[in-house]
Symmetry: C2
Subunit: 220 residues, 2 copies
DNA sequence: ATAAAATTTTAGACTAGCCTAAATTTTATT
DNA sequence: AATAAAATTTAGGCTAGTCTAAAATTTTAT
């Protein structure tokens, strides 16, 4: 049996709120993320539980079952592949693709996904640096660190973002920080934790703590 | 205001049943094409009429308003562009793309369509030979003829199909008849109107009236 | 011209997904 | 441990889109 657009969205959101450890997700958190009311979430949880997609005990929060996890990862795979398509093939900016991919991710057809994957050359990461699950549903989160965890003097490579908001991505564009940029942490201001960084051995710029907290980087 | 998936489908189907002359479409015809019951069609017609998308008087059948026509053509444009993408870029067969395009055609975003169009090189026809409306909504149906209207001895070019059923398209594949093939009509059997045709000056084969009736061709 | 047949519409009902308001359960605070 | 606050669920209701059965209208055929 097929899952509806809405069901898929719930599963995807539960997956992302649940985090790496598969922690329980609360009704209120889901209400917030789905932009619906808690009462509506409860209705949907009952339904998803009946279908065997989540583990749900009243008042106790939910986790995905193995089956639900599978569905969620498929949706994530589709979302990220379509984002690659939109950026690499159609020329969208990385700040413009989220909403469109949000629709495309619910198009059914296994074959479509696999052909798209092949067409794109089996990309491992989407335009925001998020890893793309493989066809078997293996999703390995690379263990990047957040820029705030980097020591002064370290040179790291920019690998992804935690915040996907267009305004944040546009801010990075204006700062000349893109995926793959080498960032050298020059100093951190004691007072507000703002940092001065050098990008690709060239221009030096100041970034706020807010920005640092949302940059995923890798030691080299 | 946005139109729903279902509303878009009704408009698209009314457009196609209405034909070039914009003839009235009956409730039953719509029920058949939408695979719903006549009563459900009536409900939807009332709604579309209220939105100003169709001209509807009870018991009299419907036609599209200018506004409705616009929406229908946009959906058709999207459908056909996605079909080109699926065949040209992803490598699907022309018999495999209809259902997937049926989903993709409802993805909103004007920009997406225009970027897709550019990416595909502004194709004029889809993989079945159907014309693709331009961004302004101009849809010019080329005046192809059906193979049954061709005289014996004539050489024509295969330009499209009337029946889009996978089984028919697969049959053409097996016969070696593709878009652009040159077909010379050798003879027509008086009894059952089956025909013998030569393809691209090579192989000669017999085709039934059923096939002839569904082949669109052009004199050269 | 009119009765039978076919088509279409109305009436009433169902499901998915959402809502508000009220009730219940859990958690936090004293 | 008792109670206040917060979180969650239940109850009852709404809309979109569908259905069946019955009523109304149009078309067809005598």
């Amino acid at each position: 049996m097929q899952n509806s657009f809405t069901e898929e969205n719930y599963l995807k959101i539960i997956h992302s709120l649940s985090g790496r450890d598969g922690a329980e997700v609360s009704t209120n958190a889901l209400a917030e993320s789905t932009a619906t009311r808690a009462a509506s979430v409860t209705d949907m949880l009952r339904k998803l539980a009946e279908k065997g997609l989540i583990n749900y005990k009243k008042y106790q929060g939910v986790t995905l079952t193995e089956q639900g996890e599978k569905v969620a990862i498929k949706v994530i795979r589709k979302h990220r592949l379509w984002e690659v398509f939109l950026v690499e093939k159609l020329g969208f900016g990385w700040d413009e693709v989220h909403d469109i991919a949000e629709e495309l991710e619910h198009i059914p057809s296994e074959i479509l996904v696999e052909k798209l994957d092949t067409f794109l050359g089996h990309p491992r990461f989407d335009p925001h640096g998020d890893p793309i699950p493989d066809a078997k549903g293996n999703l390995t989160e690379p263990d990047y660190l957040v820029l705030t965890d980097v020591q002064i003097g370290e040179k790291v490579r920019m690998m992804g973002v935690l915040d996907h908001a267009p305004s944040f991505l546009q801010h990075l564009d204006r700062s000349g920080i893109t995926l793959g940029s080498v960032i050298e942490l020059k100093e951190v201001n004691d007072y507000d934790k703002s940092a001065s960084v050098q990008i690709n051995g060239g221009q030096t710029l100041f970034i706020s703590l807010e920005v640092s907290k949302n940059l995923l980087v890798q030691r080299r």
